[in-house]
């Protein structure tokens, strides 16, 4: 089983719960985790293997029976670790935008968020659950209980007594939050059972409009390697924000103290300068058609 998410979501807590409950059923368990970038909002993952006898603590690509993701982009990052055609996919549809420091700086890398939608993924995976656990947990009273809600979904796929799950969860969550986490766990179980009976139940919930879809647009247009910066010098007030915030250090202030792109070959088109220019003086073009239109 692979558990993934971003820093602060409780990946480690979830894997401790899983490891403990597997032990309670008399299995041998090995667990390994990486959480180095957690503090910066980066990814965290944990592998949990259980069985009569476990040799290696890590799971190769295509070898996971379960992928439990607390965040959608992390789910997409790890999805190829699932056993093809057999693995169970469980993910929160919540999007957490990575901070600049954790984004790929490759030219043409998707500067933004993964574009796969839950619908697309669920069409491909037989045993897949995508639930908006964060919102559901918030509606129950605490969005941080999203992780136990997803455990509730997982619990319907593993043949362990529900009482054991509740017992272990109570031991690992902060004492003040035991009630809400148990509530979330039961909610997750009920939800999964409803989905078993009627797959449309999940689809219903995925239709939630509001915040999620718009995240995709930021990746938006781009055409190959094309990047062009327009800097409106009449609007630039020399604040230096773009110069200091550009991850590639390819901007500078010229002798008139206006921003210029002095190393265009390094510019990846990441748009950070565009977003952060308080004077709206920078436009990053990723599509040649738009340049012509505005010229």
């Amino acid at each position: 089983m692979i558990i993934v998410g971003v820093g602060g979501q409780g990946v480690i807590m979830v894997s401790k719960v899983l490891a403990t409950i597997c032990q309670m059923q008399g299995h041998q368990v090995k667990q390994s985790e990486v959480h180095g970038m957690a503090k910066r909002g980066g990814g965290v993952f944990s592998h949990v293997r259980f069985g009569e006898k476990v040799w290696s603590p890590t799971i190769p690509k295509g070898g996971a029976d379960v992928l439990l993701a607390l965040e959608w982009a992390e789910a997409m990052r790890w999805i190829n670790h699932l056993r093809p055609g057999k693995g169970i996919f469980i993910s929160d549809t919540q999007h957490i935008m990575p901070p600049f420091a954790c984004r790929s700086r490759q030219r043409n890398a998707d500067a933004a968020y993964t574009r796969e939608t839950p619908h697309e993924i669920l069409e491909q995976i037989q045993d897949g659950y995508a639930m908006d656990a964060t919102t559901m947990a918030r509606d129950l009273g605490n969005e941080r209980a999203a992780n136990t809600m997803l455990l509730g979904v997982l619990s319907t796929a593993l043949d362990f007594p529900a009482e054991d799950w509740r017992d272990v969860i109570s031991r690992f969550v902060p004492p003040k939050t035991v009630d809400i986490n148990i509530k979330a766990f039961d909610h997750g179980r009920e939800w999964a059972e409803l989905v078993h009976e009627n797959p449309d139940h999940a689809a219903e919930q995925l239709r939630r409009p509001e915040i999620a879809p718009a995240l995709l647009s930021e990746a938006g247009e781009h055409d190959g390697d094309f990047v062009q910066l327009d800097i409106n010098v009449d609007w630039c007030k020399s604040c230096d924000i773009c110069v200091k915030m550009c991850p590639e250090r390819c901007l500078k202030l010229d002798d008139q103290l206006k921003a210029v792109l002095h190393k265009p070959e390094l510019c990846t088109g990441c748009r950070i300068c565009e977003w952060l220019c308080p004077d709206l003086a920078i436009t990053v073009h990723r599509d040649p058609a738009n340049v012509k239109a505005s010229a």
Binding site: G7, K39, I211, P213, K237, L276, C277, D279
Partner: protein
Amino acid sequence: MTDAKQQTPFDVLQYLRQELMPHFLCPGCGHGIALRALLWAVHELGIEKDNLAIVSGIGCAGRTGAYIDANTFHTTHGRPLAFATGLKLARPDLEVIVITGDGDCLAIGGNHLIHAARRNLDITCLMLNNEVYGMTGGQVSPTTSEDRYTTTTPLGNTEAVFDACKLAEGAGATFVGREVTVQTPTLKNLILGGIAHDGFAFIEVISDCTEIYGRKNDLGSSAEMILSQKSAMRPETFENNIIDRPFRPNALPTGVLAHDKTRPEYGAAYRASIKAQQTKK
């Protein structure tokens, strides 16, 4: 899930009164970034300019509304929510968005805020919090952090600080969120969620007054100030490991802080009650 509106790339220039640009804000002022985030959200929601009404109060924050190429209404100090309430009740078809500052919204306009939140009329209130009265030269505001210097706190601020989001939530706002300007796409998403919400949405934008507050408190250059915003975010999400001049002494939670879809929207309830009255006669 994507619809046609979101397919066209966002070009901020389409939404600006370009003849008024460059805007009057000082170099590095965070309000300009908030302005972009707002227009970006408007674009993604596909709101037509003619259906958009921007109501703003007095202050540097309020003034930013004037650069938007839509129906804009620059009102009196502290009262944009009152004007917006009248407007939204008269024209429920308009998307009404209020731009206000911490002084405008919490000091002189504090009462309007709590009652707008209580009523739950479908308005989005964007409060640009720079912890100071920027426009009038840097007086203390209800959100000025402890020990900060302003022209009216020459020995450092000793007043307690308002948590505007808690205030709004306590008063009944049904969508409450906070974001820093340095996370522009995330801020855009939050504003988008607020506008899409049917009810009173209060969004606090952590912004920088670079020229006055920043200078007076030795918070560094514009770029340093925006970097240090990360210390204003949840400590488990970010650490202030870039520079050691904390922007806010106390880290604040960011993101959607409250979202209640159960309370009735005031405008709809009000119209229903009028209708009921009329059919009785």
